[in-house]
């Protein structure tokens, strides 16, 4: 890259809630971007995970939505905006404001979110705006609200370096919040006294740093923490002074929590000694951080679990001071920003909600809204039920993919099919949800959009534009503003720029936020007069940012003052409840779901970065060896998973990290990348009664081997539209696309005919090498044009297929050597060529076989030595658990 033509721009990563700062070197002319961690950003101090490091690879324009589309045809913005405004107005006129809805996303910037929320609640007059944060954070929100009187995260990342004991509950931080995990790992390595407890039914990569792993029974977290509260009381490890001065409800909570260690161990199916050890560690360490995530939140008792954890911190007074406290690791880059603007359907705005008439009047006054909503709207799952039932007739989906991510996802499909008006704003042209849109609006993507996001530690950071918008793409706030104006709300939507919106948002946060009207936690009023230049230069800052804390505030509640009416924190009496749908004879296994290290949500962006597709290329299901035996499942074979709601096909991964009786599937695959890989179709739509968060980590399922008559794969330099095989998975690689295929019937007349049909003109550009064994049912072909590999296809009826790594690597070569061409259909490198094996370290592209041979030949003993030798694991570090496994 020409150094003179580049500009360095600081921005924020668009993936998880850690909210890492990024320094991007940008060449505006060539659209080339180089990404590195921002050494000054307090979330990451220069570190990035594999996903963040690969952001530059996701910026291509291919598959972007570049033009508004109405009913499948390109349109002008004016026409599309008019269509949306007219459609919404028509429904409202006919069926009332409750007949329309917005479904947003933790990917929206705060400014976008604010305008959407204002339009819906303040001017359309319905609270039917909810977001995908409902699927991820709402139990934390509800738990905070119950305990603190506000949705406040008390602590900060700085606590990582000060804590003595980390309790990670329902969190695979190693994969889901890798940079935070690296900080915890570093803290533990720096201070051997630091202990880490991981509470998770699965033995995840996070257990790599665990001094104690408690593989509790799925959904039994509340019992475990109730038992802890009981233990702390019994051991007199509680702070009577703190409880008396700053809390209420302790006695009731303690009564509800009366469970001894043996009872807990039985209920959670844990070793009593392990439970005791955890409890005694908790009792014995003042500086305890309880970090929790989806394993806690995505539960029909998620809110109770959150409060059971908070109860223990309140009982010991371990909150609001350095190195301690309950800490919710948020899933999305701006889930927190969404909560701040009030983007969930039960919230109003700026941490005010519908439970207070005064709040409603205040916000109406501030917005000048004639018909502000007065009661909560539909939450995510309820919203799509309402669409399915015809109660909601127009929905505007922004920056999210509910056809993939919601429980009972095929019902979502059906609902959208029935919905008279579906508007989708997205940066990508082809998503499972966009397929149902009547109107598609091209939104700016990361690298183009400009605004603010808030991370897990309440830190507001700027996300800045690096590049000019692609095609006709516009900021979400602009799109919403334009629709609002066309709906007749122009006066309240005068925005010309993001900063104007931010200022209004900041002003609302401070509006009547005082002793007289009641104090609210979310207050960034000190930023309400931010000038454009200052907004442009805004440094990462933790709210509150007000008169008292002009530079922000790292921790809250250190003073023992909370946002309840009494100013005291509330204990919540928690009665542990089992998940809504227990496993039974027909569906004997518990399905758990979660994220992978190198993918993000529904893969619309991460699957574009070839290097992120190497770690786990196919949808899989993790199965305990006993269950694999019981159900006749071979490692790496295909299996069909069924629940009462739907079915999927995944590749079996036998793992003793899984509990017997439970299986795990990753949440990411969509209809764009796999024919039958959407896990959402299986998930039970059971909700937490308080937070309305779905129970995505516990669905009864059954599993059986699926033995297709044939299996195969295609590697192709050009993207192919695969149809025919029952099972296909699409994986983008470096200079190639990989398709894993399987089926019971040969599509088309025969394989060569099917290939000719798929490859089209490219298929005839050069002659094919072919291999066929009619007895073994194998067929293979390879095509090179001018010695450059174009296509490889292998199919077999006896599963005799080679590892893909050597063949896929050949697509990077401009010219194949003759011996490589000759070896193509063997699927194996010519003699004397090293085979690197499956990629372990995505950052430096180091394969398993390379690692194994270096470990063996050089006698490497530690992951640090491996790192010095091969660089593997020295960037994002998220592959260190796998490297350590190879060292055993």
């Amino acid at each position: 890259m020409d150094a003179l033509a580049t500009e360095t721009i600081k921005t924020t990563c668009p993936y998880c809630g850690v909210g890492c700062g990024i320094e991007a070197q940008v060449n505006a002319q060539t659209r080339q971007v180089r990404i590195q961690g921002d050494p000054e950003h307090p979330a990451n101090f220069g570190r990035l995970c594999s996903k963040g490091s690969a952001l530059a690879d996701t910026l291509e324009l291919k598959d972007r939505l570049l033009q508004p589309r109405i009913q499948g045809r390109d349109s002008s913005w004016d026409e599309a905006l008019g269509f949306v405004a007219g459609g919404f107005l028509g429904m409202i006129a006919k069926y009332g404001p409750e007949s329309v809805a917005i479904y947003g996303s933790g990917q929206l910037l705060t400014e976008d979110y604010y305008v959407a929320n204002k339009l819906m609640k303040g001017f359309i007059g319905s609270a039917n705006i909810d977001t995908n944060s409902r699927l991820c954070m709402s139990s934390s929100v509800a738990g905070h609200k119950r305990a603190f009187g506000a949705d406040t995260v008390p602590g900060c990342y700085d606590d990582y370096e000060q804590a003595e004991l980390f309790v990670l509950v329902g969190s695979n931080a190693a994969w889901c919040h890798p940079v935070s995990f690296q900080r915890i790992r570093a803290a533990r390595e720096a201070n051997p006294a630091v202990k880490v407890v991981v509470i998770d039914p699965r033995r995840t990569a996070t257990c790599d740093i665990a001094d104690l792993h408690l593989p509790l029974a799925s959904g039994s977290d509340a019992l475990l923490f109730n038992g802890l509260l009981h233990y702390l009381h019994e051991q007199d490890a509680i702070s009577h002074r703190y409880i008396d001065a700053h809390t209420e409800g302790f006695a009731a909570a303690l009564r509800a929590a009366a469970a001894g260690i043996d009872q807990v161990a039985a209920g959670c199916r844990l070793d009593p000694d392990d439970v005791r050890r955890f409890y005694s560690w908790f009792a014995g360490h003042e500086k305890v951080m309880s970090l929790y995530s989806q394993g806690v939140n995505q539960s029909s008792s998620g809110t109770d679990k959150v409060n059971a954890i908070i109860n223990c911190h309140l009982a010991t007074g371990r909150i609001g001071r350095p190195g301690m406290g309950p800490f919710s690791l948020t899933g999305q880059p701006n889930a927190m920003g969404g909560r701040e603007v009030g983007g969930l359907s039960h919230q109003l705005a700026a941490h005010m909600d519908f439970s207070s008439a005064a709040d409603i009047e205040r916000v109406a006054r501030f917005w000048g809204s004639p018909n502000i909503a007065r009661k909560p709207g539909y939450s995510a799952v309820e919203l799509f039920d309402a669409i399915d039932e015809g109660k909601v007739k127009a929905v505007w989906i922004m920056a999210t993919n509910p056809v993939v991510s919601l429980p009972d996802a095929d019902k979502v499909k059906r609902a959208l099919q029935r919905c008279p008006l579906v508007v989708v704003s997205d940066c990508m042209a082809r998503t499972d949800t966009a397929a149902f849109a009547h109107v598609l609006l091209p939104a700016q993507g990361w690298s183009e959009k400009d605004g603010t996001v808030t991370n897990s530690e309440r830190r507001i950071s700027r996300q800045r534009a690096l590049l000019d918008p692609a095609g006709e793409a516009r900021p979400d706030w602009w799109i919403i503003t334009q629709v609002a104006r066309r709906m007749g709300f122009g006066q309240a939507f005068p925005y010309q720029s993001a900063v104007e919106i931010f200022r209004e948002h900041a002003a609302l946060s401070g509006y009547e936020n005082d002793c007289e009207h009641g104090r609210r936690d979310f207050d960034i009023s000190a930023l309400a007069d931010l000038q454009p230049a200052a907004y442009e230069q805004l440094q990462p800052i933790q709210w509150p940012v007000n008169q008292a804390h002009a530079q922000g505030r790292a921790r809250l509640f250190g003073d023992g003052r909370f946002f309840t009416d009494s100013g005291k924190a509330r204990f919540i009496a928690v009665t542990p409840r089992a998940p809504v749908n227990p496993p039974d004879q027909d569906y004997p296994l518990i399905l758990n779901t979660g994220r992978l290290r190198d993918q993000w949500h529904t893969m619309t962006r991460t699957a574009i970065a070839a290097r992120l597709n190497q770690h786990r290329p196919e949808p899989f299901v993790e199965v305990h060896p006993d269950d694999a035996r019981r159900y006749g499942l071979e490692n790496k074979s295909l299996a069909r998973l069924e629940s009462r709601w739907g079915a999927m096909i995944a590749r079996v991964q036998v793992s003793d990290g899984q509990q017997s009786g439970s299986v795990f599937v990753p949440m990411h695959w969509t209809g764009q990348y796999a024919s039958q890989g959407r896990m959402g179709v299986l998930i039970n739509p059971a909700l937490d009664p308080v937070s309305k968060q779905p129970e995505s980590k516990h669905t009864p399922v059954r599993i059986r081997a699926w033995q297709p008559r044939w299996q195969g794969f295609m590697l192709s330099r050009a993207e192919q539209a695969i149809d025919g095989p029952e099972y296909w998975v699409k994986i983008k690689g470096k200079q190639f696309y990989r398709y894993e295929l399987a089926g019971d019937t040969t599509p088309g007349e025969d394989w060569p005919a099917w290939l000719r049909q798929h490859l089209g003109d490219a298929g005839t550009a050069a002659k094919w090498q072919e291999f066929q064994d009619t007895g073994a049912g194998s067929y293979r072909m390879a095509q090179a044009v001018d010695n450059r590999l174009e296509t490889v296809f292998f199919v077999s009826t006896d599963n005799g297929l080679p590892e893909r790594s050597w063949l896929t690597g050949l697509f990077n070569k401009p010219q194949l050597a003759p011996e490589e061409i000759t070896a193509l259909l063997t699927g194996m490198p010519p003699l004397g060529t090293p085979d690197t094996g499956a990629v372990v370290c995505s950052c430096f592209n180091v394969g398993e076989k390379t690692l194994r041979s270096a470990i063996r030949e050089k006698g490497l003993k530690t992951h640090q030595e491996v790192g010095r030798c091969l660089k593997a694991g020295t960037n994002c570090g998220s592959c260190i658990p796998e490297i350590k496994a190879l060292l055993l």
Binding site: P617, E618, K636, S637, R651, Q711, E740, A766, K767, W768, Q769, E770, F771, Q772, D773, T774, G775, A776, S778, A784, N799, G800, L801, P802, E803, R804, I821, T822, A823, L825, T826, G827, M828, L831, A838
Partner: protein, 419 residues
């Protein structure tokens, strides 16, 4: 010379007969007093290398196996030349007579009279410039034509025809091959290999009239061939017409001597004819219904026959699947066994690389190779033939089999791994 020696007379100085003599000399050097009659005026030469002489890669001297000195050194009486062609066998007297009256008595007689080219039964087949491709005379005739004439036509797209065509083309003639089938080498190759071969030969300038029926040959005023007339009315100018449409066993002499013949001189597994003192080997015989045209079985017959002539009496001749190679420089092809694999009960393993001009097919029945066709890459030909002859079970190496022995020896079976 030891008077106790038995007398062996050999009719035919070709490859089969002389190979038998060589084997006999090594098994029982002193057992026989040997007399050899040959109709060609040379020692013994390698007939299958005549193609190499035609195309200029070898001289006649280079294809001689045994010169006259060799016969002298081994105490063999050689009667060679057109006058020495044997014309009669008197089995009652144990005598043979040559054209010039030369007579020899035998205790054992070995008939190795070989085969004769088949002459197409078409009008004009007796014109000047119409020849076959069998011996040194034919090669010299073709070489003469190549120096003075331009247009050659070869009738027959089999091994010999293609070798003749290729040689004549190398000698600068414009060559067209007429073949009655639409696939070249259809007795030795399957359609795909035949097609690849045709394209390669076309690239080398040889023309083809496939599936063509020749009506007659047209002559000029001097009685010399000038054109080929096809059944469809088309005409093809022609200065030299080479017939290479096969051979038939040369059994006239044997039949006239009253030996039992069918399509060839019928022999048993010890290569003995119906007369216990008369043996026969080579292209003139019929063994268990089969006649022969390739060299490998002839050599095997020679071994067995010598074994019995030397009274070891241990061996029995078994016809093994024969393999084929084409002696045209730069064209590697090979076939063995039942290579068509038309039977539905057989599997085939195929590999093609058109860019490199490689085609391989193995026909498999119950995990055993029963036939193979290799075109372009014949490195593993003998290995496949061994596997076929030994009826090896190839189940364990099936996946990599077609990629060859070197690949399998690299110990890299395809992993049963999905991702």
């Amino acid at each position: 010379m030891n008077s106790k020696k038995q007398r062996l007379v050999v009719i035919g100085n070709g490859m089969a007969g002389m190979k038998t003599v060589e084997e006999l000399l090594s098994a029982a050097p002193d057992q026989y007093e040997i007399t050899v009659f040959g109709a060609e005026p040379y020692g013994n030469y390698n007939r299958i290398l005549l193609s190499s002489v035609l195309c200029g890669e070898k001289t006649i001297e280079e294809i001689v196996i045994n010169d006259r000195q060799w016969y002298a050194d081994n105490g063999i009486r050689l009667h060679a030349g057109p006058d020495k062609a044997v014309v009669r066998i008197e089995r009652g007297l144990n005598r043979v007579y040559a054209k010039d009256g030369t007579c020899a008595e035998y205790d054992r007689l070995l008939i190795a009279t070989g085969s004769r080219p088949i002459i197409a039964d078409i009008p004009g087949n007796d014109l000047e410039g119409v020849i076959s491709f069998r011996d040194i005379v034919d090669v010299n005739t073709m070489l003469d034509y190549s120096r003075s004439r331009q247009r050659a036509v070869v009738l027959g797209g089999g091994l010999l025809g293609l070798e003749a065509a290729s040689g004549l083309a190398r000698r600068g003639m414009d060559v067209t091959v007429i073949h009655n089938c639409d696939v070249l080498l259809n007795r030795q190759m399957d359609r795909q290999a035949g097609e690849m071969l045709r394209m390669e030969l076309e690239r080398r300038g040889i023309g083809f009239r496939m599936a063509a029926k020749t009506e007659c040959l047209l002559g000029d005023d001097n009685g010399h061939v000038r054109a080929v007339l096809f059944a469809d009315g088309g005409e093809l100018p022609c200065d030299l017409f080479v017939m290479a449409i096969g051979v038939k066993p040369n059994m006239t002499l044997a039949r006239e001597a009253g030996l039992y013949c069918e399509r060839g001189i019928v022999v048993n597994d010890t290569l003995q004819t119906y007369d216990p003192s008369v043996y026969a080997v080579g292209e003139c015989i019929q063994h268990r219904g089969a006649t022969f045209g390739l060299v490998a079985p002839l050599f095997e017959q020679a071994k067995v026959c010598a074994n019995h002539l030397s009274a070891h009496g241990m061996a029995g001749y078994v016809t093994l699947p024969t393999s084929t190679k084409l002696k045209v420089t730069g064209i590697n092809l090979f076939s063995v066994g039942d290579f068509t694999g038309d039977d539905d009960s057989c599997d085939s393993i195929r590999f093609t690389n058109p860019e490199l001009g490689i085609y391989k097919k193995l026909v498999i029945d119950d995990n055993r190779i029963i036939g193979a066709v290799l075109y372009g890459d014949t490195v593993d030909a003998l290995w496949y033939q061994e596997l076929l002859e030994q009826q090896e079970n190839i189940a364990g190496i099936r996946d990599g089999l077609i990629f060859g022995k070197a690949y399998l020896d690299g110990n890299r079976p395809i992993l049963k791994e999905a991702c």
